[in-house]
């Protein structure tokens, strides 16, 4: 399936910012089941292009002149193999690394109790069942959580978005020493082409990475475009930035994913 993707992210500041630095991860990964035909990230200034420790494409944009907005546009054409069941491990990122909790995924007692029945003898099916129960427990509700909400907080709240679903799921699995990682990317949905950027989880079972998209209850990356992987949101976030000055900010963000073939 060939997808045309356009990801627009605009920040508008109330005041002039003197300086800002952004770490940007908006370039899809090169993977056996995912071919990048064309990709561009347009930024207000030339950025440094590197790989981060996980092998993600990573841009650093630094601006040392006064500015009151930041506009980023990532777009291109990606072809994915929709029949992919699971992913091979990458040599450069040891899977055991993903058994370690991060502050965002730390497992609370309530999460542990909740996940326990599904993880005593974990199988692909039992973990899918856990994923289903998680969505029932934490229905998808926008604007109840923020980027810094921890897994335990979202679980307690009983509401959240894909980032929260993924963190809670990762927290439960890692608590059982099952390697599980965070994936940031795009989702093709034939019912609606306006989407925000997406996040889902992968768990390491019988030597492969399996997809667990809690928010959509999808367990194969059939409509998923991989952009970055990491331990949690902070490792894979599309944008992490710091600025000096600027006051309050408004964010306009939109992802368009449409099917070419």
């Amino acid at each position: 399936m060939k997808l045309q993707i356009s990801h627009q992210t605009n920040y508008y500041y109330d005041e002039l910012a003197h300086r800002s630095v952004q770490y940007i991860r908006m370039t899809p990964m090169q993977l056996p089941h995912q071919i990048i035909h064309q990709w561009d990230v347009m930024l207000p200034k030339v950025a440094t292009s590197q790989k981060d420790g996980f092998g993600n494409d990573w841009l650093t944009l630094s601006r040392n002149e006064a500015h009151n907005n930041l506009q980023m546009q990532a777009s291109g054409i990606v072809e994915i193999n929709t029949n992919t069941e699971r992913l091979e491990d990458m040599d450069n990122v040891p899977y055991l690394l993903f058994t370690v909790q991060s502050p965002l995924t730390a497992c609370s007692e309530a999460m542990r109790t909740f996940a326990d029945p599904y993880l005593t003898t974990p199988t692909h099916d039992s973990i899918k069942a856990l994923a289903a129960e998680l969505l029932a427990k934490i229905p998808y509700v926008k604007n109840t959580t923020h980027v810094g909400t921890t897994a335990a907080e979202a679980f307690e709240l009983g509401a959240g978005v894909c980032q929260d679903h993924t963190h809670v799921f990762l927290g439960c699995l890692r608590d059982r020493q099952i390697p599980a990682r965070y994936v940031s990317g795009y989702l093709y949905d034939d019912t609606a082409n306006h989407m925000a950027s997406h996040a889902w989880a992968e768990a390491w079972l019988d030597g492969y990475w399996y997809t667990f998209d809690i928010s959509n209850q999808m367990f194969q990356p059939s409509s998923h475009v991989y952009v970055a992987i990491g331990r949690d949101y902070l490792d894979a976030a599309p944008v992490r930035g710091v600025r000096m000055g600027g006051g309050y900010e408004n964010l306009y963000s939109q992802v368009l994913v449409s099917r070419l073939s």
Binding site: V21, G53, F54, T60, S62, N92, T99, R231, R240, G241
Partner: protein, 757 residues
């Protein structure tokens, strides 16, 4: 010394000639200076002779003098548990710890071997992971340490060294064998104590120095600088020390090393990243930084890569680091290798990477994550020392033999809740060293932290000695400064000509050596006279003419130091007039209206005067003294040691309530400031004259003369930069005499100081 460190175990009282309180069944601690028969070891004979002929009163007097020197210099540290971050002084004992050079060579070889293996391990875990694949170190231990840093994966460092500066904590067991208690590979501190201790014993025990061959340590800053410079293949790299700031307990050391190495002391806000290069904001513009000796912990160095709430670090630093444009010393992610859960594997690392047998043994360690070892630990809690794998500073550990039943049972619960977070070791009686205590010389337990410098080419450099920490409480095995431990000077004594002789060789000292040493001492003691405090730009022979790299933020602190100094004089002057009584009511009203005092203008003159005095003495002056102290601390990297010492006295005089003396002391400080590097003096003078100018403007006084003096200093600012605008605005103000022109000048001045040229 807030860094990681440890506890020292065992509770039995040390044994020596002076003291007899020991249980006969327990092994005796090794005494560093004396052998079992009460005579001094060969390398310690000279000091022994001196000790035998020195009264305890004389020793206590020397210790008081040492404390005075520490106090004057402001060699202090902060204890985290203190509610108000009270400044404390580290206890110092004048009786040195002595190591024979022949023994030292073994320590040196052991540390060199250990650090080489640890650096190889760090490289390995972030690349091929051969040691994990070989099943020697379990991968799960490496990741579970919580210090494994994915940002370090796959980086090809210019020079593959991770821990450039390491501290290895050594103890000596009952048989006198040196063992490794723990490794410190993050940001080990304490080296300034090593240097200050040596300084003090050179001053107070100059006789001993003149007839003993003590190996020197004073070139440590030079050796550190060459180690730092070797971490990149760049020519003449620019080094900076990154500090978390003056509230950090080791700030004294950060400023000390910056000063001694002639490199800028920077805060996160001084550094900016542009196109993946790191620059510092200087008064002439940006200067690229090639090597950052950071004294900030990993989670805080880059808010975009690590903790996003950190305000201490540098946004974008990891981008510059991974691009190879800057070296971070020590590298992020070194904490894996000094984690206590990996400590038991260090001997295996030495065998694996070097194919050698460890020269320095580990202490037997029980890993509580292993069920059978946990069971042993639980059964023997009253005999063991239990530590958190992530613990440091002597916090959060259990010393079984000296703990109460309640403490043991509480600790048992913590241990059971997370066994993998703990290790245990047998309680070892640390060696003792004679120490001057109030009623005599008594043995106190000690350890040793040598400082190991790993150069980019793989060579390892260790200054002969290190930091000897001493538990000042009888029988205590806890030497951490955060737990009340003190320090001693560590003398590595050349014993090559002592080995054969059984008599002290004091008399045989050659005269020419004494001459050489005393002439070196003269140079050393007078280094202040010729040392440039901060780095000079290349190509300038004469330090007085060379531009120095002055940070913009430091310039701002100097300006404020000048302003507050001037304000203190002015307030002192008002007090004089109030006390003498020759101040009129109209004058008082004028001051109150324009400068703001907490005085009720409707009261009779007498009451107003009393209110004004109270406001000055209780509020205004204490606040100014505090502000002077703050700005001196912030500018410490560029102010001479003697000048800083003079300023220290202001703080202390005023905290004793003698503001008049504090003001007089300020005269001495001003005299010293006038002799600092010309550009340092310039910004401080700028502040003083700006303060006078502002006051004259507020009080509607004639400003012409003051403006001209102000202009004199403005003219000395770097040419051909944005500073030039200040000259124009000053001239404009002199011509117009308008408040609005003063305001323009004031605004431009603070804008430049904030945003740079």
């Amino acid at each position: 010394m807030n860094q990681k460190s440890s506890q020292r175990q065992s509770q039995h009282t040390g044994q020596s000639q002076q003291q007899t309180t020991t249980s006969p069944k327990k092994p005796q601690s090794f005494d560093e200076l004396q052998n079992g028969k009460g005579s001094y070891r060969p390398a310690a004979r000279s000091v022994g002779d001196w000790l035998d002929h020195t009264s305890i009163n004389a020793l206590n007097h020397l210790n008081e003098q040492a404390a005075d020197i520490f106090y004057r210099k402001g060699v202090t540290f902060t204890v985290y548990s203190d509610a108000k971050n009270i400044e404390r002084m580290i206890p110092f004992d004048i009786i040195p710890r002595i190591i024979a050079a022949s023994e030292w060579r073994q320590i040196e070889a052991g540390c060199r071997q250990r650090i080489t293996a640890l650096n190889a391990f760090l490289h390995d875990i972030y690349h091929d992971q051969a040691i994990m694949k070989a099943g020697i170190v379990p991968a799960s231990y490496v990741y579970a340490s919580g210090c494994y840093e994915p940002w370090m994966m796959g980086i090809e460092l210019d020079k593959p060294i991770y821990s450039h500066i390491s501290g290895i904590d050594l103890i000596r067991d009952e048989s006198g064998r040196f063992c490794v208690l723990e490794d410190n590979l993050r940001t080990p501190s304490g080296v300034s104590y090593m240097l200050e201790s040596r300084n003090i014993s050179e001053i107070l025990l100059s006789d001993q120095f003149s007839h003993t061959s003590i190996l020197g340590v004073s070139d440590y800053p030079k050796r550190l600088k060459s180690c730092l410079a070797s971490s990149t293949s760049k020519y003449d790299p620019q080094i900076a020390i990154l500090t978390p700031g003056r509230f950090n307990s080791a700030y004294y050391e950060h400023a000390f090393l910056a000063h001694e190495m002639n490199v800028p002391l920077v805060h996160g806000y001084d550094l900016i990243v542009e196109d993946s290069k790191v620059y510092m904001q200087g008064i002439r513009g940006k200067v690229q930084v090639d090597i950052i000796y950071r004294r900030i912990d990993d989670p805080y160095i880059d808010p975009l890569a690590f903790r996003s709430d950190s305000i201490l670090g540098v946004s974008g630093l990891m981008s510059a680091y991974r691009a190879g444009n800057v070296v971070i010393v020590n590298a992020p992610g070194t904490g894996v290798a000094d984690d206590k859960s990996l400590y038991p594997f260090v001997p295996d690392m030495i065998e694996f990477y070097l194919g050698e047998k460890p020269l320095l043994p580990n202490i037997e360690t029980y890993q509580c994550r292993k069920p059978d070892e946990l069971q042993y630990v639980l059964d023997n809690l009253d005999k063991l020392v239990v530590k958190e794998t992530q613990g440091s500073g002597g916090y959060g550990m259990l010393i079984g033999p000296t703990s109460t039943k309640q403490e043991i049972s509480d600790y048992r619960k913590r241990l059971l809740a997370n066994p993998a977070g703990f290790i245990a070791q047998p309680t070892i009686s640390l060696s003792t060293n004679p120490t001057a205590v109030s009623d005599g010389i008594a043995p106190r337990h000690i350890d040793l932290r040598p400082f190991i410098l790993s150069h980019g080419d793989g060579s390892v450099d260790i200054v002969p000695g290190g930091l000897t920490r001493v538990a000042m409480v009888e029988g205590s095995l806890v030497v951490n400064s955060s737990q009340g431990g003190g320090i001693k000077d560590t003398w590595v004594i050349d014993d090559s000509d002592l080995a054969a002789s059984t008599k002290p060789s004091v008399a045989k000292k050659q005269d020419n050596q004494i001459d050489k040493q005393s002439s070196e001492a003269i140079t050393a003691n007078h280094s202040h006279y010729h040392d440039p405090v901060q780095p000079l730009e290349a190509g300038y022979e004469n330090p007085d003419n060379a531009p120095m790299i002055l940070l913009l933020s430091t310039a701002n602190y100097l300006v404020w130091l000048g302003r507050y100094s001037e304000r203190l004089y002015y307030y002192d002057n008002i007090i004089k007039q109030l006390v003498k009584g020759n101040i009129k009511k109209a004058q008082l009203h004028h001051l109150i209206n324009h400068l703001g005092f907490n005085v009720d203008p409707n009261q009779p003159l007498k009451t107003m005067k009393a209110q004004m005095l109270r406001d000055l003495e209780q509020e205004k002056i204490p606040n100014i003294v505090q502000s002077i102290e703050t700005n001196v601390q912030e500018a410490k990297g560029v102010i001479g040691k003697d000048t800083a010492e003079l300023y220290n006295l202001i703080k202390r005089l005023s905290s004793a309530g003698t503001y008049r003396a504090a003001t007089l002391q300020l005269h001495a400080c001003n005299a010293a400031m006038a002799q600092e590097h010309p550009i340092v003096t310039c910004f401080w003078q700028l502040g003083r004259h700006f303060e006078q100018l502002e006051r004259a403007v507020f009080l509607n006084e004639d400003t012409v003369a003051i403006s001209l003096e102000f202009k004199h200093w403005i003219n000395k600012l770097p040419e051909n930069t944005r500073w030039r605008e200040l000259i124009r605005l000053t001239n404009q103000m002199i011509k117009s005499q308008q408040l609005s022109d003063f305001q323009l000048l004031s605004k431009e001045c603070s804008t430049i100081l904030q945003q740079g040229v």
